[in-house]
């Protein structure tokens, strides 16, 4: 409140410390005023309830749209997947199948004389894996040239052959 220009005495000098209402008192007075001026205010007033219903409906629509969009994109990407990726997937699937039977073939004859040769094959596979990993990361970053994809397929083929040799060797020895 702006003080009038006619004041002769400093209010701080006149009023005592307890003349000023503490924060809690002011809040209590305000609550009482509110109680009188805004009585029986429901938890959800009519505009609030309307907003709530609209919000729920909008959320449901967004959810449905998102679900539809996701499946549409998934279908398109499955159909239009490049040939390179399909080859890649096919090779990886075959390799996984070979690797699944590999431990039994490799572990069966740990003390055989052919163990050194087997170890050399495993070392070969580790090197091929490292090369595949490097090429795949290149493709993921920037390199999508056909030469790189061709090189990757060669490495997959090589790995498959080595795996097949290990399995055959294991079967012969057992």
């Amino acid at each position: 409140m702006e003080r009038g220009k006619d004041a002769h005495m400093n209010p701080e000098q006149f009023y005592q410390g307890d003349d000023k209402p503490p924060r809690s008192t002011k809040q209590r007075i305000w609550r009482s005023i509110n109680h009188v001026l805004q009585p029986h205010r429901p938890l959800f007033s009519v505009p609030d309830a309307r907003s709530f219903v609209y919000g729920i409906a909008a959320s449901f629509l967004v959810l449905l749209s998102g679900y539809g969009l996701y499946h549409m994109v998934e279908r398109f990407t499955a159909v239009d997947r490049p040939a390179e990726l399909r080859f890649d997937a096919a090779y990886q699937s075959a390799i996984q199948e070979f690797e699944r039977v590999l431990p039994s073939a490799a572990d069966s004859k740990e003390s055989d004389p052919g163990q050194e040769a087997l170890e050399a094959r495993f070392q070969q596979i580790r090197l091929i894996d490292a090369a595949i990993k490097e090429l795949r990361s290149d493709i993921a970053r920037t390199d999508i040239s056909p030469v790189t994809h061709s090189r990757l397929r060669q490495l997959y083929g090589l790995k498959l052959r080595v795996l097949l040799e290990i399995i055959e060797k294991g079967e012969r020895q057992s």
């Binding site: 409140m1 702006e2 003080r3 009038g4 220009k5 006619d6 004041a7 002769h8 005495m9 209010p11 000098q13 006149f14 009023y15 005592q16 003349d19 000023k20 209402p21 008192t25 002011k26 209590r28 007075i29 305000w30 009482s32 005023i33 009188v36 001026l37 805004q38």
Partner: protein, 176 residues
């Protein structure tokens, strides 16, 4: 348009938050002023509460020609006096007579704690005029509007209250 006029126009348009701002702005001066008329904290809170409720409910009648604080204090004084009228009779011969008294601008004296006690001996009108003018700084025109007395009556009351306080003060000094 001042900030306060803007707030008042917002309240009239239904902006309740603007009323909260106005409340925060005026609650301290009104409370401390009304507290000079009662030692009962709850009664003072009740006066303040009723003043703001009445101000809100009759805001359409506030023409804006005076300050909002003048209008609010007038409501507060009415609330306080209507309660106190039930317990005491206030008779003001000076106010009724409306005698004009020339103020002496140099008629000042040191304020101290004793005077506060002497003010308590005065009736509501005298005490109101003194505090509203000397402490809160309202003009006689504003005080006249608040108390619904003539402007000259306000001047007379203030002058006589000062004289009375001065006499008390001089008596006190001679005793000590």
């Amino acid at each position: 348009m001042t900030d306060e006029s803007f707030l008042i126009s917002r309240i009239r348009e239904g902006d309740y938050a603007a009323f909260r701002i106005l409340y925060e702005h005026h609650v301290d001066p009104l409370y401390r002023f009304l507290k000079q008329f009662s030692r009962d904290r709850h009664q003072v809170e009740d006066w303040v509460q009723r003043s703001f409720i009445k101000a809100y409910e009759s805001l359409d009648r506030f023409a804006g020609r005076s300050r909002f604080s003048t209008w609010l204090f007038a409501i507060g004084l009415n609330e306080m006096r209507s309660d106190r009228r039930k317990t005491q009779t206030v008779f003001l011969e000076e106010a009724a007579l409306g005698q004009s008294v020339t103020e002496d601008p140099h008629e000042h004296f040191a304020w101290d704690e004793l005077m506060r006690g002497w003010l308590d001996q005065l009736d509501d009108i005298r005490r109101s005029v003194f505090i509203l003018h000397e402490v809160e700084g309202f003009s006689h025109a504003e005080i006249a509007q608040m108390l619904q007395i003539g402007e000259s009556a306000s001047r007379t009351i203030l002058s006589r209250t000062r004289q009375w306080l001065k006499v008390k003060w001089n008596e006190e000094r001679t005793h000590t």
